[in-house]
Amino acid sequence: MNDLSRDPAFLRGMTRRRIGRRDALRLAGMSAAGLALAACGVQGKGVAKPTTSAQAQSAVEKYWTGKVRNGHVDFANWPYYMDPKHPELKQFTAETGITVNYREVIHEMPSWFAKIQPQLAAGQSIGYDIMVVTNGIQFGQLVKLGYLVPLDHAKLPNFTANAGARYKAEDFDPGNVYSIPWTSGMTGIAYNPKYVDTPPTSVLDLWNPKYKGKVGMMADSQEIANFGMFALGIDPGNSGQADWEKAAAKLTEQRDAGIVRKYYDQSYVDPLSRGDIWLTMAWSGDVFQKNVSDGTDLKFVIPQEGATIWTDNMMIPKSAENPVDAITLMDFFYRTDVAAHLTEYINYVTPVPGAQSVIQADVAEATGDRKKLLDAVAGSSLVFPSEDDYAKLHTYVGFTDTARQKQFENLFQAITTS
C-alpha cells in the first residue's frame, strides 16, 4: 500500500504551481468559451398570422384533425379567480367524466411568459392545456410566436350562443381565433374613506398635492401610461409617440412633486387598508374581495376621464396534451348558469350577459347576508357595466412592432424604476 500523504511527488503535485498545465487549461477554457459565446443565441420563432378566413379555417382543421378526448385537463389560472372549493369544476367532472387539475400558478404576466417561453420554443408541453392570459404585450407575443392553438368554433356552441357581442369582437383577437375571455376587469381608483373625505371623481385627484406621499400608482408600464394619458384627455387606443411623451412628462411631474408614495404591483391593497397610502390605482375585483374577506371598507371608483378595461383570456398552448378536453371545459364556462355561479364568487365582469338574470333569480331565493351580497353583485356596475360605463373604458395601448413597444416600455419604466 502506498501512503499518499507521505509521497513527496503527490505532495509536490498538490502544493506547487504547475504553470505549463495551467496555461494549457486556460487556453482550452478560453477557446471553449469563445465557441460557447457564439453558440448561445436565443432562438425566436416569429410566424405569420393567417390573413384570410380560408387560411384560418385550414389552420383550424390542420390542428384539430385526429385530436381526441383524453379524459383529463390541466388548467393554469390566476389566484382569486374561482371559489377555492371549485364547485364549477366538480360539476364539469360529474357531467363529462373529464377530470380537471386546477392550479393558481399565474401571478403576473411577464414572469409567466418568461417561464413558459423556453418550453414553448422547444415545442415541449408546459404541463397545462388551458392558461389565462391578459390582453397585454405578452398576449401579442404568444400570437406572433405561433404558440397558440387556433380555436375550432364548432366545438364552442355555448360561447357562440351566450358570449356578449363585445367579447366576440375584441381588438386584440378579432374573431376569437386564439382565445375566449375568462373575465374582464377595470383599472380605476381605490381609496380609503377613513383618510379621504371627498371621494375622488377625476384621475387628476391622483395629482392632488393634498395627498402628497399618499398616492399609489402601478408599476406596469401599460397601466401607468393609460392613467397619464387619461389625465391629459388622450385616448390610449389612438395614441402615438408624442402622446406617450406628454403622458410620461405628466407622470414624472407627479413623481418629482413627491405625490407618489410607491409604484406597486398587486401589493397595493394592504398598504391602502393600513393607511400607508390613501388612494391608488387599483383593479376592480381586488378591493371588493378585500372588503368581503377582511371586513375593510375600501371604495372603488371609475374616474370621469375614463378607466382601463382589460380582459383575461382562456387559450390553449400549441404543445397542449389534452386540447379537446381543454376546449370542452372552456365552452362549459359559457353556460349561463356556470358563468353566473362563477361571477357570484369572483365579482369580475363576466363575458356572459345572460348571467345577470340567473343571479337575479338567485337573489330572489337567497336570504340574509347572502341575499345582500348577491344583490350587490347583480346590480354592480363593476360586474355588469352599462353602455355608459363601457363608453368611459379604454383598452391598453396595442403594439404592432417590437421596436415601438420597447420605446414605450423604456419611456415609462424610466419613471417607475428611478
Binding site: 418568461a114 393600513r274 424604476t417
Partner: protein, 288 residues
Amino acid sequence: MSSRLRAALTPYALIFPGGLWLAIFFVVPTVVMLSLSLQSGDVVSGYAFTFNWHSYVDGITTYHDQIVRSVIYGLAATLIQIVVGFPVAYWIAFRGGRRKSVYLFLLLLPFLVSFVLRTISWQFFLSDNGLLLGPLKSLGLLPQDFHILATSVAVVCGLAYNYLPFMVLPMYVALERIDPRLLEAAQDLYAGRTQTFLRVVLPLSLPGVFAGVLMTFVPATSDYVNASVLGGTSNTMIGNVIQNQFLVNQDYPVASALSFTLMALLLAGIYAYARVLGTEDVLEVAAR
C-alpha cells in the same frame, strides 16, 4: 494500476466533484450570460450573437444612478452591521459563558423564516400608523406625515437587518479564537482595558470583520427584495432594474450586461479592499 499512476491521478480525482459542480452551475451559466450580454435582437425574432457592446453602454448610461445608489446602500448597510454586530459578537464571545451556543441560536432564529416574509413583516412594523409610528404620532412626538417606509433609511436598515448574521458569525469566530492568555499578558504589561481592547482584541478580530464585510457587502449591494418591499419611488437598486429587464422587458442583453457590470464593479471593489486590508496584512499588523 501502478501506484505511480494512481498518485499522479489522485489530485485530479479529488478536485473532480467540486470542479464538475463549478463547471455546470457556475462556468456554464456565466458563459451563457456573457454571450447574452453581447447579443442583439428581441424575444419574438430571437437573439443572435453580434458582439453588441451597446448593451453595456445603454445599460450604464441609463442606470448609473441606480448602480451608484446600490453601492452606497450596500456600504451604508455594511457599516451599520459592523457597528451593531461587533458588540454582539464581542459579548457572545467573551461574556457568553456556557450559553454561547444558545445566544448564537437566538441570533439565527429569525433567519429560519423566509427572507421575503421577514422583510414584509417590517412593512407592518414600520407602517405609517403601525406599531412603531402609530403611538408616537398619537402622543404628538412625530408630525402626522412622518414616515419611514418608502425612504432610503428603510431600505438600508432592511439590508443591514437581513444580512446581519453573516457579519456577526465571522466576527464571533475571530473573537472566540483569541487566546485568553494574550489578554492576561496585556494586563501583566500594564495595559488598561481600553489599551487591551485597542491593541490586542481589535487587531485580532479584524480578519473576522474582513470576512464579514465580504459576506454582507456583495449580497447587500445586489439585493432587490428590500428596495421593492421597503423602498419608495426613488430607492430602486440595480438588482430591481436587472430583474425588471429580465422578466418584464425580456431584454436579456441589457439585463446580462448590467449583471456583468455589477459583477466587475464588485470584484474591483473587493480586490482594492483586499489589497488595502487583506487578511494576511492584518495578521502582520496584529503580530507587530
